[in-house]
Each structure stands twice: as structure tokens, then as C-alpha cells.
């Protein structure tokens, strides 16, 4: 399901217009992004949790060229599905 389908489906369910829905989705996601940037963790009951994790620097080796590459540290958004969701798909 792509973004367009998702938005229309959501609008249909809630009785909003597609425009309003996409607006709401946009503001919801920007709020979430802002909170995540600040280092917060977002936990949605029954769905899972979003968290920003720090990956430390590491040296990776290119197996074909044998080059050693220093990969810098980075912040990554990780999603961990909740147990109920996991069980549902098992």
C-alpha cells in the first residue's frame, strides 16, 4: 500500500476529506519527528515503539577489495514492534 492509498483509506474510515487527512498525517508525523529528534521515545500501545539509537563508529572491511573503511557514528530511528503485533503476524 502506498502513501496515496493509505491516505484515502484513512480519510474514508474517519469521514474526513483526503486533504484534511494528509494534513493531519503530516502534522502528526512532524510532531513525532520533532519529539524523536529531542531524544524521546514514542510508544504506541499495541503497535510498537519508535526510538532513536546511536550506532557507534566501526571499521568495516570490503571483502572484495580488502579495503578497511571507517564508518562514522550515526543516529538511527529504530522501530520495535510490540509483542501483540509480533504474535499477530507469527
Amino acid at each position: 500500500m502506498n502513501n496515496k492509498e493509505f491516505t484515502s483509506e484513512l480519510a474514508e474510515r474517519l469521514g474526513y476529506t483526503i486533504k484534511d487527512t494528509s494534513e493531519l498525517i503530516g502534522s502528526l508525523l512532524s510532531d513525532m519527528t520533532q519529539k524523536l529528534e529531542e531524544g524521546n521515545m514514542i510508544v504506541i500501545q499495541g503497535f510498537g515503539s519508535f526510538e532513536v539509537k546511536k550506532k557507534t563508529e566501526r571499521i568495516s572491511i570490503n571483502l572484495t577489495s580488502k579495503q578497511r573503511i571507517l564508518v562514522p557514528p550515526k543516529l538511527v530511528l529504530s522501530y520495535k514492534p510490540s509483542n501483540t503485533l509480533k504474535d499477530k503476524f507469527k
Binding site: 493509505f6 474510515r13 498525517i25 510532531d31 519527528t33 521515545m41 504506541i44
Partner: protein
């Protein structure tokens, strides 16, 4: 920071932004995530702009081993939910670390920083410590003997630098010494005759006339020295008498010193020995240099060519010295202080004959001490460039250094022995001057030790280790 936000917080934010009831907002948020879940169930992938892609991934069943029992068992295949954030979201999240870039490492890249700065600091400290004794004593030999002591106090890292410094000093000394040698070589044929006259003169103890006659010659010689470009033939002739006079004066000084310091009957016994030994050595090679050097000298004797080379080298040295002085003023000041000690005998006496008589003995001493060190430590082959740098500054600064020298060493004759301080057994490699330095803080006091141990010390230039000597207590007259 680091709070756990729930749907409640999100709905509050959303409601505030869009002026909608909290109830509606909550319904929206819940529906949003529920739809994702349902869409995943039905279509396996959900792509949301601004968030990312949720996917259901099938994991194949696989075999594994139970850790406790070692029993093989099958892990059933299952599906898991994966989430990969949108490119925009990923970049915004990683903004704090965005400036980092991946680097391709070279094979020899060292990941831990080596402490380069520390060693440099230590080197500076070491050089400073070496400089201090120079200023205090104005004595080259003391510097050499002080440096080992300093090393003990310093860290092992500093040691290395010290030793390298020492090596430099030794090189400098050697070059200076070679210079002296070269001069001596020229005049050598005459030496045998002159030494005889020396001895006779000394026996008569006519100090004054002799120094006067030699003075004139020295004045000439000094002029040549200052010009730096002496004509060879002229240079040779005045050179020789000067050397002789140094010897003579040195011996006279020992006599005077001893006479002043003590009137004991042993003195005469010691003195004649010194007189005999010194002239002999002088005739052989002014400086009792190592075995390697004497043969070299003989070869030089035969042809004037080496002397020409020496003169040319001197000119080069001057240039090198000037350059060195411009770029390394610190190094220059320390090295020149040290090397001056070899040079002064040529010029000093003519300037201040009486006052500096006591100096000459010190100079000789330094020269003697230095040569054995060279044979031990310095490898025979030495870069010419280093020598050049060192010897030239020595000449130019000669005069400036003379004054302080005279003042410090004239004191050494004004002590008298008032008793025995302690006993001391000479260790391997130690000399009387070193013992003097150990007990009196200056190497200049060794004649008193000789005087105080007439029976034990047969030859002050060669005291076998293991010899137990008595260290005299000295008081100023």
C-alpha cells in the same frame, strides 16, 4: 529528553495544532496506527510519506542447537515486521552526526594517538637542564660530567635525548680537538727541542721571563686566529711556541697552586712528576689523544696538503656556523659555550697572562678527559657538516667567555687542606676530576686530592680503580 511519549502526548500535540477535540485527535492517531497494522496484514507493505516503509518479512525455518542439551531442533519460520525510515526522516534524525564521513583507512593507519608532544617537551627540558650548568660553571668538562647526573634524575625518555645531546657535545669537542691537533702537527719537528728548554727553564723556576718572551709570539698568533684566514707558513711558526708556553704555564700553575695551598714536604715530590710527564705528552701529541688519532697525525705531518684542507674547512665552518646561528640560536649558544674550552688556550694567555695562568691547567685537563670519551662513544666516521657548525662559533666567542672563566678558576688555588673529610674508593672509569666533582661540586679541586694522597696516587693521570683515597677537607684561605 528521554521521555516515553504515548498516544496521549501525540493527541495533545495534534489537538493543540489543529483546534480539534482531543477525542477526535485520539481517534485519528489510533486509527492511523491501526490502519498501518491492517494494511500490513493485507498487503505486507505500507509506505507512508514522511515516516517510512513497514514491511512484513518472512523468516525461513532453520535448525539450531539447544545450548544446554546440545540437541538439534527446528526453529519454525515466522514473519517479522521491519521498518526502514524515510530518507528525509533518516537525515533529520542523524542531523547531529551529519558532518561525519566514511573514511578509507590506509593499511598502516594507527588508530591510537602516539604521545608525540610529551617527548618534545622533555627534550626541551633536557636541553634547558644542560644549559644551566654551562652558565654556572662555564666549564666544558663539568658539563660533560653533569649530564650523566642529570640523566639519573630525569625520565628514561629524557635520557635518550640527553645521550644524543652528549653525543653532540662529544662531536664538538672532538672537532675542536682535531683542530688543536692539526696546529700541533705543524710545529711538531721543533717540539723535541723546545721541551728540553722547557724543562730547564722550569727547573730554574724562572716563571716571569719565560712568559714574557712567549707573550710576543702569542700576540702574533692571536692576530692570525682572529683573522681566521691565516697564511699557512706564518701560522705554523707562532703556533708552536704558543703550545709550548701553554704547557709551561700549566706546569707552573700546578706548582704555584700547590705552593700556595700547602707547604708540606710532599709537594716537591709530586711536582717533578707532573713536570716530567706533561712535557713528554706534549711532545707526543699535546692532547693525549686516543690511539686512533696519533697515527693519523703522523701522516698529516708529512704533507702540507691536509693543512690546506683544514683551512678550507675552517672557512666552510664559519659559513655553516653563521647559518646555524641564524636558525638555531639556542643550539648555538649551548654548543659554543662548550666548545670554547678547547679553544681558549691559544688566545687567553696573551690577553691576561698572570690572572689566567690557573686556567690553563683546567683547559689541559678538559682536553685530556675528553679524548677517552670520544674513543668510547663516538663512532669513528663523523659527518663533516656537524663539525663545521661547531668549531667556528667557538672562535668567535672566545673572548667573551674568557672573563667569567678567569674569575671562577682563580679561586681554585686559594684553598688549603685542613683535614680529611672522608675516604673514598675510586670506581671503574672514574678519574680524580670526577671524584673532585662528586665531593666539591667542581672538577678543579683534583690537585688537592692528589696532594692529600701522595702515597696512594703515584700518577694523577692514571689512578687505578679500587684505589682508596682520602678526600681532604678544604677551607678558603
Amino acid at each position: 529528553m528521554n521521555e516515553r511519549l504515548t498516544i496521549q502526548d501525540l493527541t495533545d500535540l495534534l489537538a493543540a495544532k489543529h483546534s480539534m477535540t482531543k477525542k477526535d485527535a485520539e481517534a485519528f492517531v489510533k486509527e492511523f496506527f491501526l490502519l498501518i497494522e491492517q494494511a500490513l496484514e493485507s498487503e505486507k507493505t505500507v509506505k507512508i510519506k514522511g515516516l517510512g516503509t513497514f514491511k512484513l518479512i518472512d523468516v525461513d525455518s532453520r535448525e539450531s542447537v539447544k545450548i544446554n542439551t546440545g540437541e538439534r531442533f527446528q526453529i519454525k519460520g515466522y514473519t517479522k515486521v521491519s521498518f526502514s525510515p524515510d530518507a528525509n526522516l533518516r537525515d533529520t534524525i542523524n542531523k547531529p552526526f551529519a558532518h561525519f564521513e566514511t573514511v578509507v583507512l590506509n593499511e598502516n593507519t594507527i588508530l591510537e594517538d602516539t604521545p608525540v608532544e610529551e617527548t618534545e617537551e622533555e627534550e626541551e627540558e633536557a636541553s634547558e637542564e644542560i644549559l644551566v650548568p654551562i652558565v654556572e660553571d662555564n666549564n666544558k668538562k663539568e658539563i660533560q660530567e653533569n649530564t650523566p647526573n642529570l640523566i639519573i634524575e630525569e625520565t628514561p625518555a629524557a635520557k635518550e635525548e640527553d645521550s644524543s645531546k652528549e653525543a653532540n657535545i662529544i662531536q664538538e669537542e672532538q672537532t675542536a680537538e682535531q683542530f688543536v691537533e692539526a696546529e700541533v702537527v705543524v710545529g711538531e719537528p721543533i717540539v723535541t727541542e723546545t721541551t728540553i728548554t722547557e724543562e730547564t727553564v722550569e727547573q730554574q723556576l724562572k716563571v716571569q721571563p719565560l712568559s714574557e718572551t712567549n707573550k710576543e709570539e702569542k700576540v702574533e698568533q692571536k692576530e692570525f686566529d682572529n683573522e681566521e684566514n691565516p697564511i699557512i707558513e706564518q701560522y705554523q711558526q707562532p703556533e708552536q711556541p704558543v703550545k709550548e708556553k701553554e704547557r709551561i704555564t700549566a706546569e707552573q700553575i700546578t706548582e704555584q697552586e700547590l705552593l700556595k695551598a700547602n707547604l708540606k714536604p710532599e709537594i716537591p715530590i709530586v711536582l717533578p712528576k707532573e713536570e716530567n710527564t706533561i712535557p713528554v705528552k706534549l711532545a707526543q701529541a699535546v692532547v693525549p689523544s686516543s690511539e686512533k688519532k696519533t697515527p693519523a697525525k703522523e701522516t698529516k705531518e708529512k704533507s702540507p696538503v691536509p693543512y690546506l684542507i683544514v683551512v678550507i674547512i675552517l672557512v666552510l665552518l664559519l659559513c655553516g656556523g653563521v647559518i646555524l646561528f641564524i636558525y638555531y640560536p639556542d643550539l648555538f649558544s649551548s654548543s659554543s659555550d662548550k666548545s670554547t674550552f678547547d679553544m681558549p688556550p691559544v688566545t687567553t694567555q696573551s690577553v691576561q697572562p698572570e690572572a689566567q695562568l690557573s686556567d690553563t691547567i683546567e683547559y689541559k685537563d678538559t682536553i685530556k678527559k675528553v679524548t677517552p670519551d670520544i674513543s668510547k662513544t663516538v663512532v669513528t666516521s663523523q659527518p663533516v657538516a656537524k663539525k663545521e657548525e661547531v668549531t667556528t662559533p667557538a672562535k668567535t666567542e672566545n673572548k667573551a667567555v674568557q672573563q667569567p672563566l678567569a674569575s671562577t678558576y682563580s679561586d681554585s688555588a686559594s684553598y688549603k687542606i685542613i683535614g680529611t673529610k672522608t675516604k673514598y674508593t675510586i670506581k671503574e672509569g672514574e678519574t680524580l676530576t670526577r671524584v673532585s666533582l662528586r665531593f666539591y661540586g667542581t672538577k678543579a679541586m683534583w690537585p688537592y686530592i692528589v696532594k692529600h694522597n701522595p702515597r696512594v696516587i703515584k700518577n694523577p693521570n692514571n689512578v687505578p680503580y679500587g684505589t682508596t683515597i682520602q678526600i681532604p677537607e678544604l677551607a678558603k684561605e
